[in-house]
C-alpha cells in the first residue's frame, strides 16, 4: 500500500519564556492508507503533539510532514483549514460536541463547509448516524445522550466528510468499559469496512491492542513501531 502519511525528521519545540522546550525530536514515520495506528507513551512523551501535527492543527518546528502528497507544514492557515475540513476527521476525548446543537446538527457541522445542498446533507447525516447506531437519537442534544452515545455522534461527525484520515485523542478516556468497547468496535469497523486510516493516541494498552500497529514515543523520540 502507498504511504498516506510520510514524516521525515519532524521536530517540534515549544518556548516557555525564553527557554526552548523540545517536544518531538527527529521523528521519522510512515503510515499507509487504511492503517490503524495507536500512539502510546507516558505523559509528556509528545504523542498528542504528534497527533496534532498529523491533524494539521499545529505546525512542526522542523522536518516535513506529507499527507497524501501534500506538505501540510507548508500550507498557510487558510489553506490548512480547508485541508483539514476535507481530509481529517476528529475524535476527541471529551467529544467536543456543540451543546446547543442536536446530534443531527453536530454531525452536519463539517458539511456546511462543502457545497452539498440541504437534502444531500440530510442524507449524509442520516447515513452517518445510522452507521453509529444513533439514527433514533438525531434530535437529541448532547446533554440528553450518554458519554458513549456522545462519542458515537463525534465519530459520525468525524466521518461525515469521508476524510482520508481520522485522528482520535484518547477516544475512550472518558468512557466506561462497555461504552469504550462500543467505540473501539466502531473504529474497527471504520478501519476494516470503510478503509479509514486511523491514528489514535491512548494510554490504555487494551485500547492500543485494537490497532493494527502501535507506535511508542518516549521523551519526544520514536521508540518502537510494532504490529499488534
Amino acid at each position: 500500500m502507498p504511504a498516506l502519511i510520510s514524516i521525515s525528521r519532524l521536530g517540534k519545540t515549544y518556548r516557555r519564556g525564553n527557554q526552548p522546550v523540545p517536544v518531538l525530536l527527529d521523528i521519522n514515520l510512515e503510515i499507509e492508507a487504511g492503517d490503524y495506528v495507536s500512539l502510546m507513551g507516558p505523559s509528556g512523551s509528545g504523542k498528542s503533539t504528534l497527533l496534532n501535527l498529523l491533524a494539521g492543527i499545529d505546525k512542526p518546528t522542523k522536518g516535513s510532514l506529507l499527507i497524501d502528497g501534500v506538505d501540510i507544514s507548508a500550507l498557510p492557515e487558510t489553506e490548512l483549514a480547508a485541508w483539514r475540513a476535507a481530509n481529517v476527521g476528529f475524535v476527541f476525548q471529551f467529544y467536543n460536541l456543540m451543546p446547543v446543537l442536536t446530534a443531527f446538527e453536530n454531525v452536519e457541522l463539517p458539511l456546511l463547509l462543502t457545497h452539498l445542498d440541504r437534502k444531500q446533507r440530510r442524507e449524509h447525516v442520516e447515513h452517518a448516524l445510522a452507521l453509529v447506531a444513533l439514527a433514533d437519537r438525531m434530535d437529541h442534544y448532547p446533554n440528553e445522550l450518554s458519554g458513549g452515545q456522545q462519542q458515537r455522534v463525534a465519530i459520525a461527525r468525524a466521518i461525515i466528510t469521508d476524510p482520508k484520515l481520522i485522528v482520535a485523542d484518547e477516544p475512550t478516556g472518558d468512557l466506561d468499559r462497555n461504552s469504550a468497547d462500543d467505540v473501539l468496535n466502531l473504529m474497527d469497523r471504520l478501519n476494516r469496512e470503510l478503509g479509514k486510516t486511523i491514528v489514535m493516541v491512548t494510554h490504555d494498552p487494551k485500547c492500543a491492542a485494537r490497532a493494527r500497529r502501535c507506535v511508542h514515543l518516549e521523551k519526544g523520540e520514536l521508540m518502537l513501531a510494532a504490529a499488534t
Partner: protein, 388 residues
C-alpha cells in the same frame, strides 16, 4: 451556507445562559433608557430655542430682564425700518392652586400678540371675544385639557410679582401650529394688569417686560437689532435686542453647566454598560474556548468564530436596546406628566431613537472586539486544552 448556520448558532447561543444574558439585556435596556431620557431632557431644554422664528426679535431692558421698558417704546419701534409688527408681554408668575401647578402666564397686548405669534392657532371668534373681555384669557390646549377648563370658566391666579388674587375668564383655547409649539401658556390682557398696577403702584405702571418685534426680512435681524438699540441708546431705559433664538438660549445658558453634566452622564452610562457587556462577552468566550477551537479544527475560519462572538454580542445588545427604546416612550410620558409643565415639549424624537439604537449597536460591537480578536488568534491546540 455556513453563514446562515452562523445566525442559527448565534440565536441558540444567546439563549444559552438565560440568567446572565437576561441580566445583561436588562442592564443594556436601563442604560439605553437613561440615555434616551437624559437626551430628551436636554433637547426639551433647547426646544423653545429650536422653535424660535428667525424673523422675530426680542427687545428688553439693557440692564436686565428684571427691569421693564416703557410701553411708549412700541410706537418708536414700529417706525424703525425693517419692522413689520410689534407687541409686548409681561411675565406674570401667578400661582394656580399651589406652586406645583406651574404654567407660564403672560400679560400681552391683546390687539397685536396673536398677529406676531401666528403659530398660536385660535379661532377669530374666540379672539374677538378675548379682545373685548378685559379679564379674558386665552389658554393652551394642554393645560385646558389637564385642568378640565372650558370657555367661560373662571380661573383665579394668586399673584407673586403682582400681589393679590386675579380672576380671569377663559375666552378661548389655542393650539400649536405643530406639535412642537408650547400649549401650556396662559395669556391675558396687559391692560387689565396695567390698570391694576396703576391704581396700586402708579410709578410702575405703563411698563412692559419685553417687546417682540417681527421683521419684514429675517436676514435683516442684525441691522434692525442695532438700529433699535441705537435709537434708545440715550433714552431713559437703554435696550438690548437679540433674535428670539438668542433670547431663548440665554435662558438655557443659565443652566448650561447642568445640561453639560446631564449629557456627560448620558455617555458615561453607555460606557459603564459597555464595560459590563465586555466582561460578559469575555466570560462567555472564555467558557466556550474549547468549542471555538473545535470549530476551527473542523475547518471553520477565524472570521467565522469572530462573527459568532460578535453576532451574539450584537444580538444581546440590540435586544436590550430595543427593549430600552420601547420602555423609553411610556417612561417619557410618565416623566412629563410627573414634572407638570416644567418642560413644555417633552418628546422622544426619531433622532433620539436612532441614537439609542446606534448606542446599543456600538456597545454590542465594542464589547465583542477583544474576546473575538483573542479567540480568533487562539491556537487550536491551546483552545482544545481549555477546561470548560
Amino acid at each position: 451556507m455556513a453563514w446562515l448556520y452562523l445566525l442559527r448558532l448565534v440565536v441558540k447561543n444567546v439563549g444559552r445562559n438565560r440568567l446572565r444574558t437576561g441580566l445583561t439585556m436588562v442592564g443594556i435596556a436601563v442604560a439605553i433608557i437613561s440615555y434616551g431620557m437624559l437626551r430628551t431632557i436636554v433637547q426639551s431644554w433647547y426646544a423653545g430655542a429650536e422653535q424660535s422664528s428667525a424673523a422675530r426679535l426680542i427687545t428688553r431692558n439693557d440692564s436686565s430682564l428684571a427691569f421693564p421698558l416703557p410701553v411708549s417704546y412700541a410706537g418708536d419701534l414700529r417706525k424703525i425700518d425693517g419692522v413689520s409688527a410689534v407687541t409686548w408681554a409681561n411675565w406674570f408668575g401667578g400661582i394656580y392652586i399651589d406652586e406645583k401647578h406651574f404654567f407660564p402666564q403672560f400679560a400681552v397686548d391683546a390687539d397685536t400678540y396673536f398677529t406676531v405669534y401666528p403659530e398660536y392657532k385660535i379661532s377669530p371668534e374666540a379672539l374677538e371675544v378675548f379682545r373685548h373681555e378685559r379679564r379674558g384669557a386665552i389658554v393652551g390646549a394642554k393645560i385646558a385639557k389637564e385642568y378640565g377648563w372650558k370657555v367661560g370658566d373662571q380661573i383665579p391666579l394668586k399673584g407673586t410679582i403682582y400681589p393679590g388674587t386675579w380672576n380671569f375668564t377663559i375666552s378661548g383655547i389655542y393650539t400649536g401650529a405643530d406639535d412642537k409649539i408650547d400649549e401650556t401658556q396662559f395669556i391675558f390682557h396687559w391692560d387689565y394688569l396695567n390698570e391694576t398696577v396703576k391704581a396700586v403702584l402708579p410709578s410702575q405702571a405703563d411698563n412692559v417686560g419685553l417687546f417682540v418685534v417681527n421683521l419684514l426680512h429675517a436676514s435683516d435681524s442684525a441691522l434692525v437689532s442695532a438700529a433699535i438699540d441705537s435709537s434708545f441708546h440715550n433714552s431713559l431705559a437703554a435696550t438690548h435686542t437679540e433674535t428670539q433664538k438668542a433670547f431663548q438660549l440665554g435662558f438655557v445658558a443659565m443652566v448650561d453647566t447642568i445640561l453639560v453634566a446631564i449629557q456627560t452622564v448620558a455617555y458615561v452610562v453607555i460606557l459603564i454598560i459597555m464595560a459590563v457587556m465586555a466582561n460578559t462577552m469575555a466570560m462567555t468566550a472564555r467558557e466556550r474556548t474549547r468549542e471555538y477551537a473545535t470549530l476551527k479544527a473542523l475547518g471553520f475560519s477565524p472570521a467565522f468564530v469572530m462573527a459568532l462572538i460578535a453576532g451574539e454580542s450584537v444580538a444581546i445588545a440590540l435586544i436590550g436596546g430595543v427593549l430600552g427604546i420601547l420602555i423609553t416612550f411610556p417612561l417619557a410620558s410618565a416623566f412629563h406628566a410627573a414634572t407638570g409643565h416644567l418642560f413644555a415639549i417633552f418628546e422622544v424624537t426619531p433622532l433620539t431613537v436612532l441614537l439609542q439604537l446606534a448606542a446599543a449597536l456600538f456597545v454590542g460591537v465594542m464589547s465583542a472586539i477583544a474576546p473575538a480578536w483573542h479567540t480568533s488568534r487562539l491556537r487550536i491546540v491551546d483552545g482544545l486544552r481549555a477546561v470548560s
